[in-house]
Amino acid sequence: MIKVTNLTVKYKDLVAVDSISFEVKKGEIFGIIGPNGAGKTSAIECLEGLKKSSGGEASVMGINPANRRELYEYIGVQLQEASFPDSIKVKELCKLFSSFYKNPADYNALLERFNLADKKNAYVKKLSGGQRQKISVVVALIANPQIIFLDELTTGLDPQARIDMWELIKSLRDEGKTILMTTHFMEEAEYLCDRVCLMVKSKIAAIGTVKELVEQAQLSQKISFTSKKTDREALEGIPGITKITEANGVYNLYGNGKNLLRDVVLYITEKNIDFEDLSCSKPGLEDVFLKLTGYSLGAAI
């Protein structure tokens, strides 16, 4: 659906996007993730035909994004920080955008689906942040798009509104829409995206499914428990464990392997080692990011 080859975006001397390449397949949610200023918005706006590229190629459903008016017959977008006219009502906004397309989607059905049917006569600026973002998605869907571009859709939303939005995006994907989104929330990318590309300092640092990225990064799982009657030596020899730390009776075991937790539990039960508060944490995107860049995304924001 989307093919990007060595795409570069420059503002005077600043390189915002440095020769990135990726492909988005039909029916997937593809996420561009990275800290603010990584070049996510520049990249996505280039594909939306709103920014000129300085080099490389991009094709969206076979269309060069520079052909804006042709492109927008097939795609729907939500732009970061873009708003609607100050004193427009929800219904007026929907009618207006419906008039832009040859075959617009039925906005009444969309408002119904997004739980906004009772807000038809409300002013857009009077809606809550979550409702306004839903309106941006409704407006994007009026285009009856095959590809939906979402730029930082959930930034600034409270947790409940964010989770609602995740479900809506998933349901769109399940209908067969292709979604290209940017986010700087790792848990959002982990939950939503079929594939992600990690963008750091204008370049793509890694690309793949979340699972693949975690595997590629060869990150350790961490298994923790509290034990009063054992010591570190007694724990050495568990298959797959590469590192053990201990502080105040809390043991952290690091290692790799599919059956790591089972092996650890088997071992300590066999050896009659007492344990409490056993937990296992698998590495996630956040850890991949940390490993690739040397800093945590949380700290970067």
Partner: protein, 248 residues
């Protein structure tokens, strides 16, 4: 076409929800007319070459309506739309740039015409306003005046980096022009110094040609000069604005 019409109707609705704009376009000019009409009446006086004060003031107030719409309404709307990325959002649809921009000019023109009609109706009802010119000449000068004033507004929208700057420039252009152009008060009442300054105000030429075609004065050389100046302003400002206008 459907997009253009819906856009125009929507923009019209949004404009009439703007209370300040509506006040200055629809209420303030008739208020001024009522105030000065009550003071000077509309009896013929030698001071205005045998015309009534209201008949002379009205074309000036029409110029005031054009200025409110073109210098204040238009650039503030466009700057606001750019700042809040509304223009960018519209660009992210299949409509043409003309469909995004032209409705702003259409809607402000329609609002000017409505404001002008309200002013004329009030003048007629209260002071028995006279129109003694040729209606087609008057309409032609009205359109030229509107084009020149709107092109200045467009230029303000194009050069202002954000909507605060746009309002600041709009106020800086609008108020001096209003008082120093004869739109608010006839230049006959002004000292020589102000009359000289008024020669640098585009609105002065609008008021001049509107007054002349309203009164049916014979077309003089200064009338021709005013037409040329306004046509030149329209062309230059429009071309420059189109060249430098930024969408975000």
């Amino acid at each position: 076409m459907k997009a253009f019409l819906t856009m125009s109707v929507t923009e019209f609705r949004l404009s009439i929800r703007n209370f300040v704009y509506m006040f200055f376009a629809f209420v303030f000019p008739p208020m001024m007319l009522l105030l000065f009409g009550a003071m000077y009446g509309n009896d013929p006086t030698p001071f205005y070459n045998g015309r009534g004060a209201v008949d002379v003031l009205t074309p000036g107030y029409i110029g005031m309506i054009l200025a409110v719409s073109g210098i204040m309404g238009l650039p503030m709307q466009l700057a606001e739309y750019r700042q809040h990325k509304v223009l960018k959002r519209f660009k992210a649809t299949p409509i043409s740039t003309g469909t995004i921009m032209i409705p702003h000019f259409v809607v402000n023109s329609v609002l000017c015409i409505i404001g002008t009609l309200i002013l004329m109706i009030v003048g007629k009802l209260v002071f028995n306003l006279h129109f003694s010119g040729n209606i087609f000449y008057f309409m032609a000068t009205y359109v030229l005046s509107m084009m020149s004033i709107f092109s200045i507004g467009f230029l303000i929208a194009a050069i202002a980096p954000n909507n605060r700057a746009a309002s600041a420039i709009a106020y800086l252009v609008y108020f001096p022009m209003l008082f120093l152009s004869g739109a608010m008060m006839p230049l006959q009442l002004m000292p020589k110094a102000i009359v000289n300054i008024s020669r640098f105000m585009p609105l002065t030429y609008c008021v001049e040609i509107l007054q002349k075609t309203w009164a049916g004065d014979p077309l003089s050389a200064s009338f021709g000069t005013a037409i040329i100046i306004l046509a030149a302003i329209s062309i230059v400002c429009t071309v420059v604005s189109i060249k430098i206008f930024r969408w975000e």
